[in-house]
Symmetry: C2
Subunit: 340 residues, 2 copies
DNA sequence: TATAAATTCGAAAACGTTTTCGTATTTAAT
DNA sequence: ATTAAATACGAAAACGTTTTCGAATTTATA
């Protein structure tokens, strides 16, 4: 409401020109130490707060980064956000946060909102329903620094941060096989997602290497609806050719699996072993405790922010070159994959 | 980077004055329908995007709401955020999100950052370490619309949204007693917090009503350190005068309790019954499943945003009067409080 | 001592909008 | 036909910064 004192008033109080005061506050070499001190102390006394919009308008930058995630109630994305915020706060950047709720239309609207330069850069993970990427291409063409993480968009030539999806999935599947599984199922959110493609490849390769033939029906394409997923999994578990192991490519599908199992007579891990990509803090408190592939979420967020801020502060030297940077996950073995 | 076409260029293309174009786009009555159509179609053709900072500077508002929470990896706060974002998106508002990590110093820095008018309003839940509220008073004095939720600041005369903390806690404690508990402990994050005060009152009153004398040692003041909390709780459970029931005033302390119990020979619910304020989606998947008091998080978020936006769009008619609005929680009884 | 260079500051433009004020044209009223 | 009012638009100011350009004073150089 009341915006306090502005630069002109501060200058008048000091009997100086606004330009001088501005330079003094920005520690310009053109201003003597004596006046700098006077200006700064008066600014503190009057509690001067520069208007961010005037500054943004003039400098054509907002010190703001937009973050777009598909889900907020999600340990992985929440941790990434914390990582981004860590670095951003350190450098005086603000965070505009948007949740697409896994909805492409919402994603498009949000991306279009960012076309006007409200944020200096965008870091995002695409929704599971995103196949048409014209909105992202438009954003990229606009020249706005753009970084993807986790669920990346391969066709946009910029830097992406992911975990070792293929390798982790391969190792996870291998672990299931080593624990005695013969029929391993793979649970995915959407075939479009970069992570499902890579993780599915790792899953398939591990099967083939073990001489197991991948059953098409065991690659289960789930939806966004929790209850639907549970029923889908339950049906698979009730079929006469049911899997004895499950690799969930995202956390929520592991939880859906646990719920589905509760609707059967099956026991984990005796009848069904479960491993999942998950950043749950309490995987050890589930019954049975869940074997997880944990992504380095905070690090991923930090690296995204670091790179972006480097690009923003030294635009000449740094370009977001078209590359995929991989930070490995960590497998934690718990009861859900215990051999008998 | 490239900001596209601006108002002046758009006006030149149309051979009109910038003022006319501005008015046409803002659907002013001073402009004829004919020119409005011309302007709008040309604006779409050239993909004109108004500069948000120029607009903010001129209008002295940013269509941005700042949200300050103490923790991001927290089901309750994540749900509240989703609720806020729902309403905000509907009305074209953007969300600046800040996480204090339960740290007062961080909270102060963030609040000071908002003093310059970057956001049109603030909705927040204070950190557990906040006792000195001078920074909040300054923010309030600044005239910025300010709303608290959950962890409120009673001394700031504005509108606050909470759940029925006292009543829920009272009922939760009563439930434990009804299930046979004679010695109920209360776990809190910090004595300063509004929610702990209210929830503790409810706890005490339920004990007194049942003729049970509150044991001071059973009101356990925990810290922010997960491991410390677990040990604190474990020690309490190992004492020769251990509680047989626990009411956790926040979710993370219930989880700490579960971890602590795993380090003892005790069983839930046979030796210890547990109930907790919690918005976990998977309370039913814990072993044993956790009896919860679930706050109407999404609704709280939505109501905060609704009220704030009403205040922002019709500033004259709406004031954030000094009142506490209560939206009741819901108790879901599960295995962790089952009587033998 | 005269001149060049360094130091320190001010005036004004610029960023891209919205809005106040003014004005020309058209329509209505007498 | 004359005047009043309504309609439709333009010129310019304003929002609060930063920065370009210029100028005055002081210091260094010859």
């Amino acid at each position: 409401m009341n915006n306090g004192v502005n630069l002109k008033e501060l200058a008048a109080e000091l009997k100086l020109a606004p330009s001088t005061v501005s330079r003094a506050l920005n520690d310009s070499w053109e201003i003597s130490e004596a006046t700098k001190k006077k200006v700064i102390s008066m600014a503190e006394k009057l509690n001067y707060q520069p208007n961010p919009f005037a500054r943004s308008l003039r400098e054509n930058k907002s010190k703001t980064i937009a973050v777009i995630i598909p889900e907020r109630i999600n340990n992985f994305f929440a941790q990434v956000m914390d990582g981004i915020e860590n670095i951003a706060q350190e450098h005086g950047y603000h965070l505009l946060v948007y949740n697409t709720h896994e909805d492409v239309d919402r994603e498009k609207k949000i991306v279009n909102l960012l076309l006007n330069g409200r944020a200096d850069a965008v870091v995002m993970s695409v929704s599971s329903q995103t196949s048409d990427i014209s909105h992202l291409e438009k954003l990229y063409a606009r020249g706005l620094p753009l970084i993807f993480f986790d669920r990346i968009c391969t066709d946009i030539p910029t830097t992406k941060f992911i975990t070792n999806d293929y390798e982790s999935s391969y190792q996870g599947t291998k672990h299931l096989i080593q624990q005695g599984c013969k029929k391993v199922a793979f649970l995915m959110l959407s075939k479009e997602l970069s992570i499902t493609k890579e993780r599915h490849r790792g899953y398939l390769d591990a099967l083939l290497e073990a001489g197991l033939s991948p059953e098409p029906a065991f690659s289960l394409n789930c939806s966004m609806c929790e209850e639907q997923n549970i029923e889908l999994i339950r049906e698979m578990l009730w079929s006469n050719n049911r899997p004895d192991g499950i690799l969930a490519s995202v956390e929520k599908l592991a939880l859906a699996t646990y719920q589905a199992v509760k609707r059967t007579k099956l026991r984990i891990p005796q009848d069904l072993k479960v491993i999942s990509f998950s950043n749950m803090g309490i995987a050890g408190l589930l019954e049975p405790s869940l074997t997880t592939i944990t992504q380095p979420a905070i690090t991923i967020g930090q690296e995204c922010a670091k790179l972006l801020i480097k690009k923003l502060t030294k635009p000449k030297q740094n370009d977001l070159i078209d590359q995929v940077i991989t930070i490995p996950s960590k497998i934690t073995i718990r009861s859900s994959t215990l051999a008998e």
